[in-house]
């Protein structure tokens, strides 16, 4: 990222998300379903004391904190927990807009090992937006107690992104997590996440719009994902696009944002 682009990015972060990054710092977004331990992971990495609690909805506001690993500084952003980022509620919109337009260097998706299937719903949605994602399967200790085993290497291969198992409360797996965050931030690892395969009904609809969407938005966002949002009639998203990317309803081409 060149210098002016970094500045541009920092301005965006502070104006739209109230996040202040210092130059050279990598930003990491923490996304996940409610109550999976995002704030616990956040605390464990940053050494801060965000409130945690065993109920969905404890965190309702963005929180930021930083840590240093191998001489690089990382800015963590703890997002509110959401079941989905199709943005039906304000929290979902906050989380979605940050992942989508905040352009974090890495999005860390925290999953609950005891109900992986439901949690993968969100992970797959994030993987459609950005390839820079690390999956953190948290609560491994709880899963073990419930006699649930997870084949992590199979999961990693299937998802096409790094998967790290953690038990954030006791600190298990956090070293690996830091290492993976570092690797991805400095560009040592560029995953190709598995893309959702849709039924023919949805796929046909996508194909009808995709070429035009691609032309319109250029390389800013994954055109396939944008198409899906438009097909979904997501008014909030249309508003977000115009807000963050300076695209009004009538312009013929997105203003390219340097990345």
């Amino acid at each position: 990222m060149n210098h002016s682009a970094t500045k541009e990015h920092h301005k965006l972060l502070s104006e739209h998300f109230g996040i202040t990054a210092i130059p050279g710092q990598f930003t990491v977004a923490l996304a996940g379903n409610p109550n999976v331990g995002k704030s616990t992971v956040f605390n464990a990495l940053t050494g801060l004391h965000q409130h945690t609690g065993n109920w969905p909805g404890k965190t309702v506001d963005n929180a930021q904190g930083s840590f240093t690993y191998l001489d690089r500084s990382f800015l963590m952003v703890d997002l509110p927990g959401t079941y989905s980022i199709l943005a039906h509620t304000i929290e979902e919109q906050v989380a979605r807009d940050f992942i989508c337009f905040g352009k974090p260097d890495v999005t860390l998706v925290v999953l609950d090992a005891t109900c992986l299937e439901r949690n993968l719903n969100l992970a797959l949605q994030v993987m459609e937006i950005t390839p820079k994602i690390i999956v953190c399967v948290n609560l491994m200790d709880e899963a073990e107690k419930k006699n649930i085993k997870i084949d992590l290497s199979a999961l990693q291969k299937d998802l096409g992104v790094p998967v790290v198992a953690t038990a954030a409360r006791s600190g298990m797996g956090l070293d690996t997590l830091r290492q993976k965050l570092h690797e991805m931030s400095i560009g040592l690892c560029t995953p190709t996440p598995r893309q959702i395969s849709y039924s023919s009904e949805v796929e046909n609809a996508i194909q009808q719009l995709l070429p035009n969407v691609s032309r319109l938005i250029g390389s800013n966002l994954n055109p396939r994902w944008v198409t899906l949002r438009l097909l979904d009639g997501d008014q909030a998203f249309i508003k977000s696009i115009s807000q963050y990317l300076n695209l009004d309803l009538h312009s013929t081409r997105l203003q390219e944002v340097a990345v």
Partner: protein, 467 residues
């Protein structure tokens, strides 16, 4: 396919086209979600190996008890009472110790100031005002909160709070509100400002507003200790010492339960007037119980609370102490400024079972409820009796010397529970609602209710010759 695609150039055109496709295929949104879940199943299926456990897990067994038809409500009530009992029983001794230490230090400070030849107004503002205000807040506030919050966090980390919402949702539904409102009330125990912010977990804007407007009816960190102090030294003081703690915790528990009922009543009233509407839906996840990490919880919430209380004490109580000392020691004619103010408020205050000083301190306590008790004591002490805070009995004597009866105690506690929120909470309400009107109502509703309730209680007690 591409042959039929019309070239579109603007976002608006694409949106219109998308709209058309959606209309011809109304299930598309559902289908997208279904497809994502199908993918999730395909991935999770081979990656997750579940060895079914035969016995019902302790999760289920615990839920069988905590949400049972017969025991669900009694257990909630019992847990609440037990927590208050432990808080009150445990806070006594440390409170006394902190008070002893800090007031011994105050005496030392007085000696040093005298040796240094400081003018008496300086000694007054710094030592008798600031330091004493600070000392009282710490002695009265810190111990109960440092006991209450770790216990509460224990239940929170266990996963009990969503069960409370599960148990109580039916009542909230009847008030056309959301069961998650109780979660926001639980956060209000810590701080009403935080409680107001946590209302974001309620999806329906109407129900969220109801939760914001009523959050104040749970006593926050700043009001709780006032209730505990009055309950202990006054209500508890009326019975033999063995029963003191028990009586005090019954009184505090009843007050909190009353606050919850007022919340129901106000929510119901709002749903039928200003915020008319039907109950919307509620989707509540009940997470599995998790074994709390005892040590970490106690340590963490103890530190958190101590820092919170000390910070508020220094920011709020110290300046408030200085101002109060000035007001109490600048005389206009025969009476100090504070005396004039109290005398002016007296008729009004008397009608609702308080006295001028009590009402005045509640008004001065608008920036932070923590300072109500210390300012009140300072007011009383400045009016003649040169008594120093020593034991709880002495505190009780201060109140009795200032004509407190059981009715004064009851009305003060009721007023404390129900009155206006502090400025921090009002600010949060403004940020969350973005409206001056709703912020004003957040102030007005509790205020009106506090006056009405105290008026009715005071007048009926006097009519029936109970005092």
């Amino acid at each position: 396919m591409s042959a039929v695609i019309k070239p579109m150039t603007t976002l608006e055109e694409i949106c219109t086209e998308a709209e058309k496709i959606r209309l011809s295929n109304p299930d598309l949104g559902d289908k997208i979600v279904s497809d994502i879940y199908q993918n999730a199943e395909m991935i999770a299926g081979p990656a997750v190996i579940k060895n079914s456990t035969d016995s019902r897990s302790w999760d289920h067994k615990l839920d069988d008890i905590l949400t049972s038809r017969r025991l669900g409500y009694p257990i909630m009530f019992a847990l609440l009472s037990i927590i208050f009992w432990i808080t009150i029983a445990g806070a006594n001794v440390p409170s006394q110790m902190i008070a002893d230490t800090l007031f011994a230090f105050q005496d030392q400070l007085l000696i040093w100031f005298e040796l240094a030849g400081a003018p008496s107004w300086l000694t007054g503002i710094l030592v008798l005002g600031m330091f004493r205000g600070l000392a009282w807040v710490i002695a009265v506030m810190l111990p109960p909160m440092a006991i209450f919050f770790p216990l509460f966090t224990l239940l929170e980390d266990l996963g009990y709070l969503p069960r409370v919402a599960f148990n109580l949702d039916n009542m909230f539904r009847r008030c056309r509100a959301c069961g998650k409102q109780i979660l926001t009330m639980c956060m209000g125990f810590g701080c009403n400002a935080a409680g107001v912010v946590s209302c974001r977990i309620i999806d329906s804007p109407r129900e969220r507003l109801i939760a914001v407007l009523t959050n104040n009816f749970v006593p926050c960190n700043g009001r709780f200790p006032t209730l505990i102090a009055i309950a202990t030294i006054f209500m508890g003081g009326m019975v033999v010492s063995e029963l003191q703690t028990a009586v005090a915790s019954v009184v505090v528990t009843s007050l909190v339960v009353l606050g919850i009922f007022v919340t129901f009543a106000v929510s119901w009233a709002l749903s039928h007037t200003l915020l008319k509407g039907e109950a919307s839906s509620m989707v509540l996840e009940l997470p599995p119980y998790r074994k709390p990490q005892l040590g970490a919880i106690f340590y963490r919430s103890l530190i958190d609370r101590t820092i919170f209380v000390l910070k508020r004490a220094i920011i709020m109580a110290a300046p408030a102490g200085a101002i109060t000392w000035l007001l109490a020691n600048i005389y206009i004619g025969e009476i100090s400024i504070i005396g004039h103010l109290a005398a002016w408020l007296q008729p009004f205050a008397y009608a609702i079972g308080l006295d001028g000083f009590i009402l005045l301190t509640f008004i001065l306590g608008l920036p932070a409820n923590e300072i109500v008790m210390p300012i009140l004591l300072m007011c009383y002490l400045s009016t003649g009796q040169m008594m120093e805070y020593g034991t709880l009995e002495e505190l009780r004597d201060i109140l009795i010397n200032n004509n407190w009866t059981w009715l004064t105690a009851v009305c003060t506690m009721l007023f404390c529970l129900l009155h206006w929120p502090c400025t921090t909470a009002l600010l949060s309400a403004y940020k969350e609602t973005g409206s001056k009107k709703w912020t004003f109502l957040t102030f007005l509703i509790p205020t009106v209710i506090a006056f009405i309730v105290c008026f009715i209680v005071a007048q009926s007690a006097r009519l029936l010759n109970l005092v």
